[in-house]
Symmetry: C2
């Protein structure tokens, strides 16, 4: 059973200010919840239908409140068109960034990524390629936006995601580390032929504007994913998540 | 000016049966329209705001009807939350498949791809990597679905897209050609280490079920995109468009 006040509270979490105030986010779907319960996230409350209640009762830790709800009740709190049997309130992680954590690793920097679907897909790619540090410019979409969480398919777990002032961040990287900084540009050198470092920061530019001019000045190696398009197949760019996948694959395969 | 009947007609084109009946589809947005006008698609009618009317009048061929509409009118016919200054009715292409067209080329086969965003992104990837033949199983989403067209960003042009009965198609491929058939599977061999052919058919499986069992029997080489995930980063699969990008990149870079 859900009280009206609880429904109102959960609905309000679709807004960032409310999520941030309580340091809570909404996760939905069985697969996503399995991953989150298997991670170091603290799950506060789980609302699920009768069908999966017993299953989730075997997965939860003692801090978690598990509540059975009707399909009708789940519809009232779900943000999905087709609710997926389970919705949970999960505590946001306080991420901290120490520059030495970035050493000897591949790291991603997201430069004003606005689209929740792209952000979620990038986090899923990062998980696949074993990249744990995701540094976001302050103008990126909130990683705890429900559409981002949904698109990660649970791959929000096991990551260190921080938001930074981008110029300050790269100034510090330049003065305090020797990490190379990579980005893709139309005038970059073909990624397939390059010797790529095992560690560094890969910058992914925004959907509309690519890598911003203030960050471009910090790039130490410009790369390019070559196109094999024929004349009739006009396509000027790859989707940012698609480019991320190809770049991560190229760094890892060597 | 738009008549009520015209508004009703355009709205009805969001349904596949109406699109198929008149062999028409809707395209929206300046970039998409630039690509389509630059291709061999036949554009029937363009509705655009005053701001871009002169621009489009320089791009159209004489068969095209160009109509200025108010922002309010455009909102009534647009399928987008934020209409993008221009909407057009374009004639669908009658695609025919001759198996010999597939020889000496890389081709994509889509096995029940349902999500319009994924389908559109795959078409954009295909354009980037110069793949012109896209063979879809009959259960794939309609390529002329407005959400697919939108996600292609114009990369629907310059392609040969056909729908087939998938079992019939692969039986014919096996008996009439020597084309290798590739697909990614968890028990495949690492794609990075494989010698990959310059021609053949790459099969992309559905979001929910992967490559279907009846198609798996036709695969001549099973491939695998290795994961570099750490233990805490539970992620069991890559999005199908992301996997498509990595596979196409691997085939093309050699």
């Amino acid at each position: 059973m859900l009280t009206k006040a609880k429904i109102k509270y959960i609905n309000a979490l679709s807004l960032k200010k409310n999520r941030t105030q309580d340091s809570i986010f909404i996760a939905e779907g069985i697969k996503t919840m399995e991953e989150i319960l298997n991670s170091d996230f603290s799950v506060k409350e789980i609302y699920c239908t009768k069908e999966v209640f017993n299953y989730f009762s075997t997965l939860i830790k003692k801090e978690t409140l598990l509540v059975e709800v009707s399909e009708n009740e789940l519809e009232k709190i779900s943000l999905l068109k087709t609710p997926q049997k389970v919705l949970a309130l999960v505590e946001q992680k306080k991420a901290h960034l120490v520059l030495t954590d970035l050493e000897n690793k591949l790291n991603l920097f997201l430069d004003d990524i606005n689209d929740p679907g792209n952000m979620g897909t990038i986090l899923r790619i990062a998980a696949w390629f074993g990249i744990e540090n995701i540094i976001c410019s302050n103008d990126c979409v909130d990683v705890y936006n429900p559409k981002v969480v949904q698109a990660t398919m649970g791959a929000i777990a096991g990551k260190n995601i921080v938001y930074v002032d981008k110029t300050d961040f790269f100034k510090k990287v330049k003065t305090e580390t020797k990490l190379p900084i990579f980005g893709t540009f139309l005038d970059g050198s073909t990624i397939y032929d390059e010797v790529l470092a095992k560690s560094g920061i890969i910058v992914l530019g925004s959907e509309a504007h690519g890598i911003s001019p203030e960050i471009e000045t910090f790039i130490t190696k410009k790369l390019y994913i070559p196109s094999f398009a024929t004349q009739m197949q006009g396509v000027e760019s790859l989707n940012v998540a698609v480019a991320a996948a190809i770049v991560c694959s190229e760094f890892r395969r060597r």
